[in-house]
Symmetry: C2
Subunit: 341 residues, 2 copies
Amino acid sequence: MVDSSRGRPRVAVVGTGLIGGSVLLRLHEAGLDVAGWDPDRATRADGRARGITFPDDLGGAVRDRDVVFLCGPLPSLPETLLTVAKHAGDGCVLTDVGSTKGAVAAFAGANGLTDRFVPGHPMAGTERSGLAAAVPALFEGGAWVLCPAAEGIGPFRMLSGLIVDVFAARVVPMSPAVHDSVVALSSHIPHLLAGSLAGAVAKSDLRDAVLGLAAGSFRDGTRVAGTPARRTADMLFDNREQVVRQLGQVAAFLDGLASALRDQDIDALVGHIEGARDLRTVLFDRDLLAHRQEFPADGDHRAEVEFLLELGAAGGHLTGCRVDGDRVAYTGHLPATAHSA
Amino acid sequence: MVDSSRGRPRVAVVGTGLIGGSVLLRLHEAGLDVAGWDPDRATRADGRARGITFPDDLGGAVRDRDVVFLCGPLPSLPETLLTVAKHAGDGCVLTDVGSTKGAVAAFAGANGLTDRFVPGHPMAGTERSGLAAAVPALFEGGAWVLCPAAEGIGPFRMLSGLIVDVFAARVVPMSPAVHDSVVALSSHIPHLLAGSLAGAVAKSDLRDAVLGLAAGSFRDGTRVAGTPARRTADMLFDNREQVVRQLGQVAAFLDGLASALRDQDIDALVGHIEGARDLRTVLFDRDLLAHRQEFPADGDHRAEVEFLLELGAAGGHLTGCRVDGDRVAYTGHLPATAHSA
């Protein structure tokens, strides 16, 4: 399916809000044949006004497509997945953009869809919503998680190539379980902390005075609290076990800071804060090494999947995937520390 | 001292790092006669290379000045205040830019300086440091707290006018105690939360994978963890009582979110998050009403100070202060809700 002689895939995007709309606009901008669908009639009209195919029925949007991106709200995903799988051809690759992966991957497995459904999650977004807020460049340079499985390795390879080529994203292969642990720390707990800060101030006697003095640290620290509440709640709820577990580590660090303040231990305080600062510094200065790996295109794919999962868990990402005859070649980047370990 | 016929004040800035340097550059850009001083020889040379007066001795920098901004590190302030008060003339107005106000205000009172020292705090900054990181527009549109006292009302009026006119900042009058409570929530706890998130990830087995997936919510949620550790520690330490007290409210909100997750109570979760979102919405859309108030220029100033403290505590700010004959006129803005209350 990554054979370029087959031409570029025909794509559909189901659910065209902030994320799905941005996927759609980028695909359209890149010149691919793409159809959109959204349950909201006004959104479909908006899509058509932009010159994009937007059938009124979901079946019409996904029939005869090579790839379908499922982008509706998290709780709607399982039902949408079954509906789309029914209407799309057997060879059609399905992927989603939901912010948790364990539940939907298990659901796909239980419904015999692992050979064509690749759980996905682009790590991008804003606190806005809807097609009107969509921007085609939203995913450039960002991480886009895809969960590889041996029985669906063809669809994984094809999507990896497409996402790198069209969206200029870094494809991060991860198992659903590792993904859900990692995003608890990288995304879900930041939402909890932002909400706690904003929510505590909302209830405080000092609310108005805080609003008067709020500067950069408060604005940045509460930004994602501006996300639509239901969207944030669905995301946290779906990943509640991992969120609660990882929150324990963040709360422990916070307790350490508070204890240092209570004990008037300035050296301990500086030490804790220096540890935090080191992480912040490396966030913008990761030392990455180029990496290339080949596998037989056919076979049982276990070594290939193992390589992919290790790459993602180590903080690496793919920059390309090409099938050439009987070989598949991955190019990517791996943190220098992981590489030497 | 706010009588414009006296001409523009001659100013000195002592300690020209990120904040002091930005104060200095803006005063220089505005055409005021300004001298800088910094304990670091290379910084003084950098200042001179920018065409700004930078004597090698502190006394030379502050002698014959009308206003001195004290901008060094927080722990150095008390000693610097005494030194500058000794070298500057009796009529020279002193102010600082430290991130807590209770301790330095008490120190100034104990040393008989309340009639000329106005505790101050511009709510601006970045995670960078040093004169090289200074930017003259840093304070535009931001809040700049000044603490008025009846015995130093003349210096307060003069600084209010200067800060509005030269820095285009919103002057927020507040008592030192209220300031320290408010900044615990608006600034210090955001630093604690950012540090806790970054610090917990630094220690996590998932560190490299989190760095690979980190997107906007993680970057914004950890931004101020990039601040020099000693600067953050000094700030938190100096305000530790208020920080620990207000942190209890934030931790309680966080507990409520975590409990809703543990109890699988999606409605409670949405409710909590909606409360947080409302605060975020109002942060960028405060309904402010113009306000004007006059007082006798001379007298005991109690009503004037009371008006100023109520304005700041209610989330308002000054947009001007003019002494005209025997009257002083303040113009400002108050939140509509506070105004009608």
